[in-house]
């Protein structure tokens, strides 16, 4: 059997997700027995446009990048968005709340006009996406599971319940009880509540679940004496694009 050909591409992002792929270490060598990598600019000189699966990291943040994305869609049978920037717009969408001309001036001063940009958006805002590996950064195990499903011709399963479910199972002390604001109640699970396990809060990097329970969220706010503004402020970190769409 011919090995499926895979390619990696990156747009506006930190390349931390492709690093997670490199960080598979020995597991990566095993994966290379099953697939043929034909393009991965970060680690190889060779490049081919003949591939079956395209993994895309990063957000689309300028019109000129749309053509490149459309070409990838044409070449690939399966497109997989990896990492928050690609799946939900990620931290990049934080600037969508600001006047983008002002944003450019803040960073580039009088040269602002040389730097095109538009609202940062996930890959599926430009081209259809077949599968998602959420998270900032992606989890290596989850990446492997998604790849395995795709190789078996199955649709990868992604949880559609909040991080709280995993967090309770892990017997963490609720962040709200500790006096902190946490977006776990509306964020898609699948990370095994890793940030709360490490003693902090859920920041929302896996994005909103499909039907967030707004009433439950309001109850939490009332119970802990928090305001809607507290919630909106925290939602802005990762939910910028999703909230704008809602």
């Amino acid at each position: 059997m011919m090995k499926p050909k895979v390619a990696f591409f990156d747009f506006a992002g930190c390349e931390g997700d492709q690093l997670q792929v490199a960080n598979l270490e020995e597991e990566l060598l095993k994966l290379l027995d099953k697939v043929e990598v034909v393009s991965f600019r970060e680690v190889m000189k060779e490049h081919s446009d003949n591939y079956d699966i395209a993994f895309i990291e990063g957000s689309c943040t300028r019109l000129q990048d749309e053509d490149r994305l459309k070409q990838i869609r044409k070449n690939a049978k399966i497109v997989v968005a990896i990492g928050s920037c690609a799946t939900i717009g990620g931290i990049n969408a934080l600037r969508n709340y600001k006047d983008l001309d002002e944003v450019r001036r803040t960073v580039y001063g009088e040269h602002a006009k040389l730097f095109d940009t538009y609202a940062a958006r996930p890959i599926d805002a430009v081209i259809p996406v077949d599968a998602y590996v959420h998270g900032c950064p992606i989890d290596r195990e989850e990446f492997l599971n998604v790849v395995k499903s795709l190789l078996l011709g199955k649709k990868p399963e992604i949880p559609n319940y909040p991080v709280c479910v995993e967090c309770k199972k892990n017997e963490n002390v609720c962040a709200f009880e500790r006096g902190q604001f946490c977006v776990g109640p509306v964020t898609r699970a699948g990370c095994n509540s890793c940030c709360v396990n490490e003693g902090t809060i859920c920041w929302g990097c896996r994005g909103l679940i499909d039907n967030p329970n707004e009433n439950a969220q309001k109850e939490v706010l009332i119970k802990y004496g928090l305001t809607v503004n507290d919630a909106i402020n925290k939602f802005k970190l990762y939910f910028g694009w999703q909230e704008a769409k809602r």
């Binding site: 992002g13 930190c14 492709q18 270490e25 970060e42 680690v43 450019r104």
Partner: protein, 436 residues
């Protein structure tokens, strides 16, 4: 040479982090164009953090770079801590230094093993090495995994660390975990020597090229400075970090919109070679020995030797991590409550923080109002400081190798860029270069 015509266009140099291009035009032996060009999509972090709270900035700015997210997080925390006068315990500073070592090792090994080694072995990527040199490759992978597991133990995970927070850590490792890591670090000494021997056989593949330049790094009297120190230049001596703007002078090149940095000359270099040139006397014993084995001596002006300086630093990070764990043990590791959140009195102020990250000195500079909301931010990234030096090296290298075949010229120029280990997506100051 009169009949030499070249048209080299490396659109998106491979095996570097981010998007950069090389353009060379030579007509009848005359160099008409020789450019290092950046085409990364700008990301505007300095604008994004304005309006955000003090306890969120490290989380946001960590996302500037996936490869050196621990370094960005630490630079960010130090900046916030300085702005608000937040104290960090001696124990936490030691744990943070260990985290920096872990990331330094991870990043250097990734660069040396995945990005540089293929050039020296005459292949396009690390993939064929899995069958041609399995043992060597497995040794590199083993070391890389060790560095990652060390980050996990200290920070929660390798990329975008969770436990590093203003004032300390939300969770710290146990002495047992540190002890296990120390054992593995001791064992890793043999592995790193194997890697050093491999590079020693191949080091002749780097061009013998020098161009005098200025080197800038942090320095400290009693240690090889990574976490803190004063600013030091091989040209002008030392200065407080608060004066960073007079060092990292960003300027506009005539006929181009590139922001480059200069200090006492047209350009300067930051990174492992700069640190080695300034602080080599404070390296660990085995690291010094490794430098000697490669004939690496300060002040070395061959940018290709940055690769070897990185290897020397990997050895140093292993030895110095063992030393730090010994100290933590001797002092008695103090535990802390679960979900620890240091008590912070929010106040208005400005802070400047500098940390040596794998690719060189990194500066963050924030101003906060009395609510702890960021009103202004500036981040100066190592790779941006190196762009000018890469271009000037390229200008100097090209005439020297013009007689060689085109493919070789292209490879040497790519190798020059790779030697700097540029991290282009770090570019909060993403620059687009328009040459006319």
């Amino acid at each position: 040479m009169k009949d030499k015509n070249l048209n080299i266009e490396v659109h998106h140099v491979t095996r570097v982090e981010g998007h950069g291009n090389i353009y060379v035009n030579v007509k009848e032996g005359r160099i008409e164009r020789c450019e290092w060009n950046i085409s990364e999509a700008p990301r505007f972090f300095e604008a994004m953090v304005v309006g955000r709270y003090w306890n969120e900035l490290h989380h946001i700015t960590s996302r500037i770079c996936g490869i050196c997210s621990i370094g960005h997080t630490l630079a960010s925390l130090k900046t916030t801590e300085e702005a608000m006068g937040i104290k960090v315990s001696e124990q936490d500073v030691k744990l943070r230094k260990l985290a920096l070592h872990a990331e330094n090792m991870q990043s250097h090994l990734l660069h040396l093993g995945f990005l540089v080694l293929p050039d020296l072995m005459g292949v396009g990527s690390v993939i064929p090495l899995a069958s041609s040199n399995p043992e060597e490759l497995k040794t590199v992978l083993r070391l890389h995994r060790l560095a990652n597991e060390m980050s996990n133990m200290l920070c929660g995970r390798t990329t975008h660390p969770q436990r590093l927070i203003p004032g300390g850590f939300s969770k710290i490792p146990t002495m047992k975990e540190l002890d296990t890591m120390r054992k593995r670090l001791r064992e890793a000494v043999t592995d790193v020597q194997t890697v050093a021997e491999l590079f020693n056989k191949l080091v002749g593949g780097f061009p013998d090229f020098t161009r005098e330049t200025e080197f800038i790094a942090l320095t400290k009297p009693d240690e090889y400075a990574l976490y803190d120190g004063k600013l030091a230049s091989t040209d002008t001596g030392t200065a407080p970090v608060a004066e960073y703007l007079t060092y990292a002078n960003e300027y506009i090149v005539p006929n181009s919109t590139a922001k480059w940095s200069k200090h006492s000359r047209e350009s300067y270099m930051v990174g492992a070679l700069a640190r080695f040139n300034i602080n080599h006397e404070k390296l660990s014993p085995l690291a010094k020995k490794t430098a000697e084995n490669f004939g690496l001596k300060a002040v070395c002006h061959n940018p290709f030797m940055n690769n070897i300086a990185q290897l020397v630093e990997v050895v140093h990070s292993i030895e110095d991590s063992i030393r730090l764990i010994n100290e933590l043990e001797a002092d008695g590791l103090k535990s802390q409550p679960e979900y620890y959140k240091p008590d912070v009195k929010v106040k208005a102020g400005r802070g400047v923080g500098a940390v040596e990250v794998p690719r060189g000195i990194l500066f963050h500079d924030y101003t906060y109002n009395d609510k702890g909301v960021c009103t202004k931010a500036n981040c100066v990234i190592p790779t941006n400081q190196n762009h000018g030096n890469i271009q000037l090296d390229m200008n100097a290298l090209l005439p020297k190798i013009l007689g060689r075949p085109e493919k070789e010229i292209e490879l040497k120029l790519e190798m020059l860029v790779r030697a700097y280990d540029p991290c282009i997506s770090c570019s909060t100051h993403a620059v687009k270069v328009y040459f006319t």
